[in-house]
Symmetry: C2
Subunit: 349 residues, 2 copies
């Protein structure tokens, strides 16, 4: 990374759950910042945020906010990205967008640096950050795909509520207290704040993340299906997903079944491969009860993989258990990592 | 059912989480009881339990306890069943065993009445009640297997802690309180009380239920695989399972992918079939956010099925979400239901 030069970085959605993690990640990575602009909706404008010991006042995001900005990290919802990302690009900024607004746009690269960093070279001003549950899965599966081929992916997720924002963490906490104290409560956020009905998440599992599409899959499930194919450049890959919210604050887990393209591969081969894979930490020692869990992954940028075993019936079939901090590798860290890749590849200014 | 005649019923493990549910279920079903004997380990003997308004003193289970008993419902762990079930049979009782002790014994029927009630006719004194996570799955899949054939089953479970007994519910509750109050805690029960390490279950997901086998699958996963084949009389069926404990007290959920034996079947066909299937309640209306959830199933004997959708790539592939009260259909109710079937078929005395 060019440490000599600094960049003017804007964070859009600076007061949100992911925005806060982006700011924290920029600090932790000592990201080369010459100027920092923190932006939000009108409602949150005026808030104070301390970054690297300096207090910043959050400003309302408008098209004019992006004058002179080199890199704009968007995480304020798809509507804000659609409205303002093109303006940011017109002002000369490169946008890293952590919403679903441009992910499936064919002119927008959808990037997980461990998988398809080169797609950044084809950018048209906006780079999309994939859905959290997709990112951790493709980081774990890409080394397998590259070496052995990949024909089929079936995933069932165990997703943390923080994917629905800080307000969902608050709901989980308050609801849990109410149930333990035998007090009444009224679900209002999960499964989807804007949807018609809301359900208890504490001590429950809700098989709905995002709203339903016509085919009976939810948008979250279709994101995993479509984004995986796009990131891996495998349009013919068979992918299916069932996405479930569970009462965990931070950390997504995934039970994944795959069929690879090569016969004669063992679980030991996959473990050996993933042991040294970029962004992956192998935690797989059943004899000593070593496997990844959401509670252990919080605060780490890595993707943790364990429970790797060969299917008992299908020669090319394998099972894996994949866990990662959905706010970091699933969102903030992958966005900042894209920005670092852009600088490394000489694509910023 | 022969309401005129009453039977001498023994409950072994009467003070445990499942034993309590068995007693409750016998009451609710107005089971024809002429005499009731409540048995337990020496440690719990002497406890008082009220049944149908009468107070019973729990006695220590010994081989002699079964003199004159017609039906003995065992739910006190595999060791107790292995030690005492043969003695009960010698004394003339029929044993319904809710442990894994005899499930895979080829001379012991493994029965879910909606699926293979006729297997009771071949009994040799002991009938095994399957594992909780297996029961609810085969109730939902059997109508599909019968009509369309079944080639493949892949399941990822979301299992409640009550599968590990009342002590695990207590651990979940106390740990949740500690985390909310920011107090220290020491896991001691989950994932497996007798295993080397114990992990946080509150706000977490643990991909281990029961201990690990040599092939990297846990015993719980192997139970689902082997029991499903045995109950369905489908030794060649391809079955795989990943079993995960989540912070729910009661109610198991399962994300299930199947491949059936017939082409041209639609999700609507499966919904139509399951709408009237024995023991099944269809809850499948995505437009109105209707799907099963653990918190809604507690206290019901039924198996709830929803999120039925056709795979987007595999013509014979379908996805389902299956939820049931693991203490009732998964344990107590299936045991009592077996006892009712035995009476109906004239197999008791």
């Amino acid at each position: 990374m060019t440490q000599e030069k600094g960049f003017h970085v804007a964070v859009v959605g600076a007061t949100g759950a992911v925005g806060q993690q982006i700011i924290q990640t920029l600090e932790n990575r000592k990201f080369p910042i010459s100027q920092l602009t923190l932006l939000s909706s009108a409602r949150s404008a005026g808030n104070k945020v301390e970054v690297n010991g300096t207090e910043y006042t959050v400003q309302e995001a408008t098209p004019e906010s992006f004058k002179g900005v080199d890199i704009a990290l968007f995480s304020a919802g798809g509507g804000v990205s659609k409205a303002l990302a093109p303006a940011a690009v017109e002002h000369g900024a490169i946008v890293v967008d952590n919403t679903s607004a441009f992910r499936m746009d064919e002119n927008t690269p959808l990037v997980v640096p461990e998988v398809n960093e080169d797609d950044l070279l084809k950018h048209n001003g906006i780079i999309a950050n994939p859905n959290c549950s997709t990112i951790q899965m493709v980081v774990a599966l890409e080394p397998i795909r590259k070496k052995y081929g990949l024909d089929k992916v079936l995933v069932s997720t165990y997703q943390a509520v923080s994917g629905s924002g800080a307000v969902a963490i608050e709901e989980l906490t308050e609801q849990t207290k109410a149930i333990i104290n035998n007090e009444p409560f009224e679900p209002a956020v999960l499964p989807v704040r804007s949807d018609k009905k809301h359900y208890q998440i504490a001590f429950n599992a809700i098989p709905q993340i995002d709203v339903f599409t016509e085919n009976g899959f939810t948008y979250e499930e279709m994101k995993m299906i479509n984004e995986t194919k796009k990131i891996m450049h495998e349009p013919e890959l068979s992918v299916a997903a069932t996405c479930v919210r569970i009462p965990v604050a931070v950390g997504h887990a995934e039970s994944v079944y795959i069929e690879i393209g090569t016969e004669g591969v063992t679980a030991a081969d996959l473990k050996e491969l993933l042991k040294d894979a970029p962004g992956v930490v192998l935690q797989d020692d059943p004899a000593n009860q070593v496997y990844p869990m959401p509670a252990d992954c919080v605060g780490s940028n890595d993707v943790f993989v364990g429970r790797i075993r060969k299917d008992l019936d299908v020669e090319k079939g394998f099972h894996l258990w994949i866990v990662s901090d959905n706010l970091l590798k699933g969102a903030a860290w992958n966005s900042v990592q894209i920005a670092e890749s852009l600088i490394k590849l000489g694509l910023v200014k």
